[in-house]
């Protein structure tokens, strides 16, 4: 009984799979192209969902708009440009490289450089502080004596 229950629970995700938002898929090729394009566009209503996956009314309308534009013969680039002209760069999940996104694109590398620089600095400092320790003549003698001492037989 317990195992049956466990089996049923493990099967649950398989039957509860929600999948992509479905609309009328009259033309499977066009539909595929539309989904491919809208996966990279943000739904403005539920902002962390893509336009392809969102069930918001606006997302449905925009998917239809994308279909219509594809039927009119617009290229993917032109459609993306249209979306950006209406809703701004915010619709792009993949932000373009431009003046206000330089920090976003290069900031992590900058941080990495700062980290590397401080690491090198710290290591150098440490080496210096290690070198600065000098043995006195007495210590040197003792060290030599210890090193030259015959090894005690191990028991």
């Amino acid at each position: 009984m317990k195992y049956l229950l466990i089996l049923l629970i493990t099967l649950l995700p398989a039957i509860s799979y929600a999948g992509q938002a479905k609309d009328m898929a009259k033309d499977p090729v066009l539909e595929q192209r539309m989904i491919h394009l809208t996966q990279n566009l943000r739904c403005l209503v539920c902002q962390n969902e893509s336009l392809a996956a969102s069930q918001a009314d606006l997302a449905k309308d925009l998917r239809q708009e994308v279909r219509d534009k594809m039927k009119q013969g617009m290229t993917d680039k032109e459609i993306i440009a249209f979306m950006v002209s209406k809703y701004g760069d915010f619709v792009l999940f993949d932000p373009p490289m431009q003046r206000n996104t330089i920090l976003l694109w290069y900031g992590p590398f900058g941080l990495l450089l700062i980290g590397l620089a401080s690491l090198v600095y710290q290591l150098r400092k440490r080496r210096k502080s290690v070198l600065e320790v000098k043995m006195s003549a007495e210590e040197a003698q003792r060290t030599a004596a210890l090193l030259n001492e015959p090894k005690a037989p191990q028991t």
């Binding site: 403005l44 209503v45 902002q47 009314d57 606006l58 309308d61 925009l62 708009e65 950006v84 002209s85 209406k86 809703y87 701004g88 760069d89 915010f90």
Partner: protein, 174 residues
């Protein structure tokens, strides 16, 4: 001194996070600001046989308020619009977005009609042209037909006094 640096970095992080908290992720800057408003011709709400064209608005400063009977925040905004319309400062044109005429009319009968005219955008195409993603939205459009300001979400007394009315006065003086 070296002890101070991790603290400074932490403080900077806190400042950034605090700024991030204060920003409303639903307010996305519109790329249409300072661009000519999309032109449209749509049927009027009370008289669907008649068409309203946004071209007729050239030469005056006007507000385009996108609303719908199904929109909850519009109820919050409605009294402010009613008050504004009674002051006769600027004409308010309504765009009934993705709504039925019957429900739109019923809504205005119930709460009063602040609009000089209401056009209906039943399929939401004009909404897409204007980059509408959440009603209510209000556009301030100048005499040349250029969008000067977009209010996302309900108009309140505060943003009316602080932003919209001063801008309208400035645009009307031009």
């Amino acid at each position: 001194m070296t002890r101070f640096w991790p603290f400074a970095a932490f403080a900077a992080l806190v400042v950034f996070l605090y700024i991030g908290l204060g920003r409303d992720p639903h307010e996305i800057p519109s790329p249409l600001i300072n661009k000519p408003a999309p032109t449209f011709t749509l049927p009027e709400l009370y008289n669907p046989a008649k068409q309203f064209s946004s071209q007729d608005m050239k030469g005056q400063v006007w507000l385009l308020n996108v609303w719908a009977s199904w929109c909850v925040s519009c109820r919050e905004e409605h009294p402010v619009l009613m008050e504004l319309s009674q002051r006769h400062i600027v004409p308010i044109y309504g765009l009934d977005y993705k709504d039925t005429n019957a429900q739109g009319e019923a809504w205005l009968r119930e709460g009063g009609d602040p609009y000089t005219l209401v056009a209906t955008d039943a399929n939401g195409h004009v909404g897409i042209d204007f980059g509408v993603y959440g009603v209510p939205e209000t556009y301030v459009i100048d005499k040349q037909g250029v969008i000067r300001y977009k209010q996302i979400g309900a108009i309140t007394h505060e943003n009316l006094q602080q932003k919209i009315l001063p801008l309208v006065a400035e645009l009307q003086a031009k």
